[in-house]
Symmetry: C2
Subunit: 638 residues, 2 copies
């Protein structure tokens, strides 16, 4: 043992064929990271989520015993990568269902969804006035009659075009200014960025380049990162791209990632991961659209508070600890290069302001996009992602809260759950005769079930009477219901035709119910605290990374959203990126976002006396108190 | 020759003993530079000013023939350093009268003079509100009841203390903010700097360091650089220091330095020189006062436009060429470190704004200090240095011009001229019996004559009838008057008692007359253009590096200043540094300076049709038109 520990071992990962060399004794999960393979790991490598399963094809290894593997799996050399050490050269296979596909799978859903929502600016809700602009200026050169200095001449010309009472020029720009102005007879393109009330001259180039000004808006989710490439001259979205957040093998939720980083002094590593992801998305978009990275002058990010802290390497440790605070809610614009983001080297990085440690800029973007902060009537906004954030309010007041009920609707903690991607069941129904109909994203053979499919599944199992109000499977012997390795499960799709069997287990259902209960309890706390009745709700917005075919009625049926008339419920998709784009294109929208972040009142559910009661009451389908869900009661009676 | 060119030669400079090694063939002036010896060189090494004389004690050299050396000098191995090449190891002696003493000689005069003028702030003319402040903040730490993020908590605490509507925080500060706040229980010292309307958090430190906040105000003159160390917490000047501008061997005036830099691609070198000078002054002051450089948070510079361009390496080439413009008149505050200035690494560098290529921030400082921009009556301000700038105006209008009549009153172009320093004759009178009385700075044996002494000399020679109205020596044979190597000269001090003979030559007088004529012609153009009569002048301010005993009556007698009642004339010393300090201590003063710079109308004398006429008419003592100088006429008649 002592000797083998010192030797180097080559580990080859199939089916990708990626290889890496590590010292003997290295944990297999680390080796996978090193090879660039991101295995799902909810627990951050602690060995109890069972997500990082991998098959050893060849080679020596040492694994800790675990109850998370079935006898069959152990026979087939399946191990938990986080609990296994490499002892020799080896070949391993990463099961398809356990890898995170970093292809453009999400393009079909999250990334493209509701891109028209970014049309706030074209629609005239906000004035088109982007955070970074290029102006082509034709100045008259200085003469004996007009001896204005170059720097003041530039300011005068800029102020003829735009409102810029407070201006700044970087030293390097100032140093080169005169030679640039003179090179083409005082005809220059000036790039100006807004930093709060200050207008900064960030670049000066000879000649007219004002038609080449691009930005990337990024939604940094805990699980996925979505980027839109925007032409700032035309206020249009040119292209979109998405990938999994590659921090994912440090923990599936951000609390675990913070714990991992604290224990391993790995905040730099977390930052590197997310910065690399953002850079990868930018490079992919720029390459595909043949855009020079120097012409990308702006990056704007919306994300939860923890993600923004990771991105900028701000102190995130107290997000998970009392008093649960952020290092910064309002992030001043910085040079993107300072954070390692590779666009124009003087380009700016903006982050949407957050409200609290658990209510981030993504939620502020949601409020901005849905415009609930402008209406007289009360609206409800719920974003169901890795966490479930809820906002209630109108133009006079806004309250918000976050339920940490877990990312079940993102497919996590669900045996055949997956993100909305090719092969994901996004729509499912159980017909009167008990047969199951479904639709997959892209029409591909079914691989798993995404959020909207899980919502359908839970609602259909309930309305078909396969599960009861507590979420438990009713009587055995029902077709499709059987005892599997994970306890009772219900078969949704038979294996065959090149795909595996797809089931939903009792544990899956319990997770989904807990998740929806968390969201609904949060809604109840906010409504009770503000004495808002269900009838007062003028609109309910549901945001998140569900599939394309979200059945909003099902969100009421399972008791996730309050029982309002269906026409009041709107699925609004990825409002985080939509809001980021709106802000990108209008300074007024940024001001609105800042005002939203400042004025929203945050309710800390952990310390709220009523939350736990509400959570327990919501752990039924749809709720212990059926009077809260008259439409569901009525449907059940029919 | 070919062989010797390749070898290395050691050149030793006496009396300092400084040595340097250079390749054979190197020009001796360059070797002196390399050794850190700054020889005066008005012509920038072109061989026609004759200022860089040096004695070869030992070694081989090759000199170009020159008419600037007397036969005696040639016999004594005196050479022009700029016209001499080193051919072997050699020892040379730098004559005392030709070196620039970089000691604290100026401390006695320029640096200390009128330091009470910086008292504008204490006197309540401007509110005390320094450009960079340290605030000690005791914040309550976050709690479950108060989950405000650290960054916003800091902003709130700052805004409780000061007016700061627009704020910025640097990325590095943001990253360390939380750990600094937590290290001593949210008790921190925050350093805030003002950049226009923006307030920047430039440093955050745990604990109370608010009593250690220092700044250096610098007057960057073409010939001298003067620095005052200021305690920003008490608005007091702690110490002062001055030295020669070590760019001086690239040319005595800035036009020659620009030419030199263009020809030799040496703008970097010019920047290095002045940055080193400023750093030397800062280090000297900090060391003497036992102040940590990190506690110096601000540097503020006032200087002519060219000096500020050299300091920041901005494009200065068009200062000397049509259309005679600056690269920047208004210089945004930058980090001092960006310009190479060694104070706190996040400390700020401010430069007073200039009006035009030939009217710089030093003149704006003069207008600010004399407060002529606030008065109903018309005032005149003249700054006699290497150039002669003139401002006329009141609270409604300000006009200005620059005469490039040369730095004769700074001792340049005058055989025994020198800057105000130890041994300089600063006061001189010719009594009724023709005997000469004088006073030297520090009471030292006389070494030369400084500005106030030269003014006295010219006026006394004129009123005693030794020179006529054209400035020519009258009849030969008069005691003291004799033919020397430089033509006719008048002996002011006999040699003996350890000092040399001190004379004034016809050429010296011609230079002084031209210099005063330039200033007066500029005054006349401004007065004529604004239809200002002599009787309209409520006050006349004379600024510049004269000695302590300036006789303002003499400035009228020779026709440099208009003939107003003497009580209206005020010698105000170094208003450049006084103005810089006022701005340093009050944001209101900075705004006032910016308004002055923007509102002043610049007259370009080169292209002004009347300037040359006025200049020719002023080339008499006091003037061709005696009616302009009734008091002088009256005195002459008596």
């Amino acid at each position: 043992m002592e000797e083998t520990k010192k030797k180097k071992c080559v580990v080859r990962f199939e089916p990708s064929g990626l290889k890496t060399e590590v010292p003997a004794g290295t944990v297999l999960l680390e080796a996978a990271n090193k090879a660039g393979i991101y295995l799902s790991s909810i627990c951050g490598g602690d060995g109890y989520c069972g997500k990082c399963k991998i098959v050893i094809d060849e080679g020596q290894f040492q694994s800790k015993p675990t109850a998370l593997l079935t006898p069959n799996e152990v026979r087939e050399n399946v191990v938990l990568a986080c609990q296994t050490r490499v002892l020799s050269d080896m070949t391993v296979t990463v099961p398809k269902s356990h890898t995170l596909e970093t292809s453009q799978i999400l393009m079909d859903s999250d990334a493209h969804r509701f891109s028209e929502l970014a049309g706030e600016v074209e629609a005239g809700v906000f004035k088109f006035d982007p955070l970074v602009q290029k102006l082509y200026l034709e100045m008259s050169p200085p003469s004996v009659q007009d001896h204005t200095a170059d720097h003041e001449r530039l300011y005068l010309a800029i102020r003829e075009r735009i409102d810029a009472p407070v201006m700044q020029t970087g030293f390097r720009i100032l140093q080169k200014l005169s030679s640039v102005l003179q090179s083409l007879g005082y005809k220059v393109t000036v790039t100006i960025g807004r930093r709060g009330e200050t207008t900064e001259v960030i670049e000066v180039e000879a000649g007219n380049h004002s038609d080449r000004n691009f930005a990337v808006a990024v939604d940094i989710g805990t699980t996925t990162v979505v980027a839109h490439l925007v032409d700032l001259t035309k206020a249009t979205t040119i292209d979109t791209e998405a990938m999994y957040n590659s921090q994912i093998n440090f923990g599936e939720d951000y609390i675990r990632r913070i714990m991992y980083a604290e224990e391993n002094n790995a905040f730099d590593q977390l930052q590197n991961r997310i910065v690399n992801d953002v850079n990868n998305l930018i490079v992919t978009l720029a390459t595909r659209q043949k855009i020079d990275l120097q012409d990308i002058t702006t990056v704007i990010c919306a994300g939860n508070t923890a993600m923004v802290h990771f991105l900028l390497n701000l102190d995130a440790t107290r997000i998970r600890r009392e008093p649960y605070i952020a290092s910064a809610g309002f992030i001043p614009p910085i040079r993107a290069a300072e954070a390692g983001i590779q666009i124009n080297k003087r380009g700016l990085l903006y982050c949407l302001p957050s409200v609290a440690a658990y209510v981030g800029g993504d939620i502020v973007a949601g409020v901005l996009t849905t415009r609930i902060y402008t209406r007289g009537g009360i609206s409800l906004f719920a974003d169901i992602g890795t966490n479930g954030e809820v906002v209630l309010g109108n133009r006079d007041w806004l309250v918000c809260a976050s339920s940490s009920a877990g990312p079940a609707f993102e497919g996590s903690g669900v045996k055949n759950g997956m993100r909305a991607g090719a092969g994901a069941i996004e729509k499912l129904s159980i017909t009167g005769d008990g047969s199951i109909e479904f639709k997959t994203i892209g029409g591909s053979p079914p691989v798993g079930i995404c959020g909207s499919g899980l919502l359908d599944t839970l609602a259909e199992l309930f309305t078909s009477g396969i599960i009861d109000r507590t979420g438990r499977f009713k009587a055995n012997g029902r077709p499709g219901l059987s005892e599997g390795e994970d306890g009772l499960h219900f078969q949704l799709v038979q294996s065959g035709g090149g795909h595996q069997e797809i089931v939903i287990t009792q544990a899956d259902i319990n997770n989904l119910v807990r998740s929806k209960a968390g969201v609904f309890a949060a809604i109840r706390v906010l409504m009770e605290s503000t004495q808002t009745k269900i009838k007062d709700l003028e609109a309910v917005y549901l945001a998140g990374g569900f599939g394309n075919f979200l059945n909003v009625r099902h969100a009421v049926t399972i008791g996730m959203l309050p029982d309002v008339p269906l026409e009041k419920i709107h699925f609004v998709g990825n409002t985080s990126i939509a809001g980021a784009k709106t802000v990108l294109l209008s300074r007024k929208a940024l001001k609105a976002a800042e005002k939203i972040a400042q004025s929203m009142t945050y309710f800390d559910l952990m310390s709220h006396p009523k939350y736990m009661d509400e959570f327990i009451r919501a752990n039924f389908l749809p709720h212990t108190d059926l009077s809260l869900f008259p439409s569901v009661k009525l449907a059940a009676e029919k």
